[in-house]
């Protein structure tokens, strides 16, 4: 019998699986840089309170201090150390980004899958709801929801999540429409799969690749929106060191003490850049057409 490489299945050769994605990402220098940076931010966000000054410790003698050895990123208008603030603040941008997209994806996939598989009136109603949501610009609808619910981390997540939901719903619905008539779905019906099982075990797993790509790209966007909301005073409020609100607070001093605006701005930029690079690499890894 001819020797077959099935003997020891090399998981990293299996497109779409985690080892495969990792292998592809590890070859992409931009994505690796982004990944390392993100990991660094996450770690620093949790670790910094233990060896740095508290982010809310006020010291009026250090007002507007420019970057120095003692305060590597300087201080803000009431003497709080900017470095500990930006490191701590990473958790807001990242958690809102991840949380909002996770919410949007979960609810969006659920609704979109039901719409795609059921067709008919259920599909129409659900999609019109999505149309309504999508017709309002994302930022505007987020602002509206946050205004209604009040500021805060969770409300931010909900607000942004709702505005991103239609995209996921549409994406999964389109994919499901494409594979709904496949023979393996007919086969699933014939072996007595319930509708729920067909949707969750057969349809969704096979439509998930573009969703994963979308998720990774939208976390960046959600993080940016979070900063924007906070900048407008609607998101995470003082004294929480959310990067957007840090920039808002430093708005008036931009001419004399630009470091107060530039530093948080750079961090926002680096985070969004890293998430984008990572998202692009994941998309390339999951795209079968780009195989060699």
């Amino acid at each position: 019998m001819q020797k077959r490489r099935v003997e020891r299945i090399d998981k990293s050769k299996r497109p779409g699986s985690l080892p495969y994605i990792w292998k592809k990402i590890s070859k992409n220098p931009g994505a690796m840089a982004g990944l390392i940076l993100l990991c660094l931010f996450i770690v620093m966000s949790f670790v910094s309170p233990y060896f740095m000054k508290s982010y809310s410790e006020v010291d009026m003698r250090d007002r507007f201090a420019t970057p120095s050895w003692e305060h590597p990123f300087g201080c803000d208008e009431i003497g709080r150390d900017i470095m500990s603030r930006v490191f701590y603040g990473a958790r807001y941008t990242l958690s809102i980004g991840v949380g909002a997209v996770f919410l949007a994806a979960t609810v969006g996939i659920f609704l979109g899958a039901i719409a795609g598989y059921s067709g008919g009136i259920v599909d129409s109603v659900l999609m019109r709801l999505m149309d309504i949501l999508q017709s309002i610009p994302g930022l505007v609808s987020s602002i509206a929801v946050v205004t209604a619910l009040g500021p805060g981390l969770i409300n931010c997540i909900i607000a942004i999540g709702i505005s991103y939901m239609p995209q996921f719903a549409r994406l999964i619905r389109a994919n499901i429409l494409g594979i709904r008539g496949s023979e393996f779905i007919e086969a699933a019906t014939i072996i007595n799969c319930s509708t729920g099982r067909i949707i969750f075990k057969h349809l969704i797993p096979n439509s998930i690749s573009p969703i994963i790509v979308q998720i990774s790209l939208m976390i960046a966007q959600a993080g940016l929106t979070a900063s924007t909301l906070s900048f407008l005073g609607l998101g995470v409020k003082e004294p929480m060191p959310e990067w957007g609100s840090m920039i808002a607070g430093a708005r008036n001093y931009i001419r004399d003490f630009p470091h107060m605006v530039i530093i948080p701005g750079i961090f926002i930029m680096l985070t969004v850049l890293s998430l984008n690079l990572l998202g692009d690499a994941i998309r390339d890894a999951l795209d079968p057409k780009l195989k060699d």
Binding site: V6, E7, I9, R14, E183, F184, I190, I191, N192, N206
Partner: protein
């Protein structure tokens, strides 16, 4: 021998924007238990639709389906569930008929799991047992479809159908997508399984050589209607419907020394949407005349066990003209 399947005047129509598609139009036949009924025809003849209607993937428009002499035409959810453990289907494309994200073991185990008849500890053993029956080695249990070749994938599909011990299986072109050398393996497997487990097959195909090898009886379909049905050898030795004759003569033969008269049909197959009354083959038939375009042509038993839906079949037979 009892009949395991009987269909009477089965119709399946689809409503589309352009009109009603008469996919299956008033078809009746019986399948004897333990035998293989071959269902042949070209694309658009309705054979695949018929197969899927039998297993309740589609709901029939009218007519009757009898399984082991019980009427199973209209069933509720629970009855359908029960029926699906007796009637199963093997699909054509060994790639698209398997969930690309499920391993071989998961695919074969799913019907066992859903039947509710096995305890958790028994599932694995039952799964390996079925895999063994279809010649799938245990070492493939964690493989995904794209890691296997066409022949093995098709074995997975067969295992899945066999898992619940059905009595009747609709095989929808199970070897058409396979290479010749693998095709033979799968055909042998299907025949062995039939003998060991006393299965009955409805073998849907457009490949006449394959159907000759595997089936006991044949039904020839054209544009939704049954045009000829008889025991297999009868059809090949003595095709009586002009379409059957043309179909047989169109198949290229590997016998290079025997020049056969080719019946080349003129024109194209007409549309199954709102078809005109009368014989649907008349447009392309060499023998057609006005009688053929009148009312529906019924099946006529020309010789015992050999039914033909052609109003001129007796004449053609007497005059000696025919197909091959």
């Amino acid at each position: 021998m009892p009949d395991i399947i009987e269909i009477k005047n089965l119709k399946k129509y689809f409503n589309t924007r352009r009109g009603t598609v008469h996919a299956v139009d008033d078809v009746s036949f019986k399948i004897v238990a333990g035998s293989t009924m071959g269902l042949v025809g070209e694309s658009g003849c309705g054979k695949s639709t018929l197969g899927r209607t039998l297993v309740h993937l589609y709901e029939s428009t009218s007519g009757q389906i009898l399984f082991q002499e019980k009427d199973v035409t209209r069933l509720n959810k629970n009855q359908t569930k029960a029926l699906r453990e007796e009637m199963q289907m093997i699909f054509q494309d060994p790639f698209s008929s398997l969930n690309p994200r499920m391993t071989v073991k998961a695919t074969v185990q799913e019907p066992l799991l859903l039947s509710g008849k096995y305890k958790k500890e028994e599932l694995d053993e039952a799964t390996f047992h079925v895999m063994e029956q279809v010649g799938l080695e245990k070492r493939f249990q964690h493989s995904f479809p794209h890691e296997l070749d066409g022949g093995r994938r098709q074995r997975v599909g067969i295992a899945r159908a066999l898992a619940v011990n059905p009595k009747f299986i609709v095989c929808d072109e199970p070897v058409s997508a396979l290479d010749v050398s693998i095709q033979a393996q799968i055909l042998n497997l299907l025949m062995d399984l039939q003998e060991k487990q006393d299965l009955t097959y409805l073998f849907v195909t457009h490949n006449l050589s394959v159907v000759r090898h595997i089936s006991d009886y044949i039904c020839v379909m054209y544009l939704g209607q049954l045009v000829e049905t008889c025991p297999t050898k009868e059809l090949f030795n003595n095709p009586m419907h002009p379409y059957s004759g043309a179909l047989l003569s169109a198949v290229p033969s590997t016998n290079i020394h025997q020049k056969r008269a080719r019946i080349i049909l003129k024109g194209e197959i007409s549309s199954p949407i709102n078809p005109k009354p009368g014989c649907r083959f008349a447009k392309r038939c060499l023998y057609a005349d006005d009688r053929c375009r009148g009312s529906k042509i019924e099946l006529d038993e020309i010789t015992p066990g050999h039914f033909v839906a052609c109003c001129k079949a007796r004449e053609i037979r007497e005059n000696g003209t025919g197909a091959v």
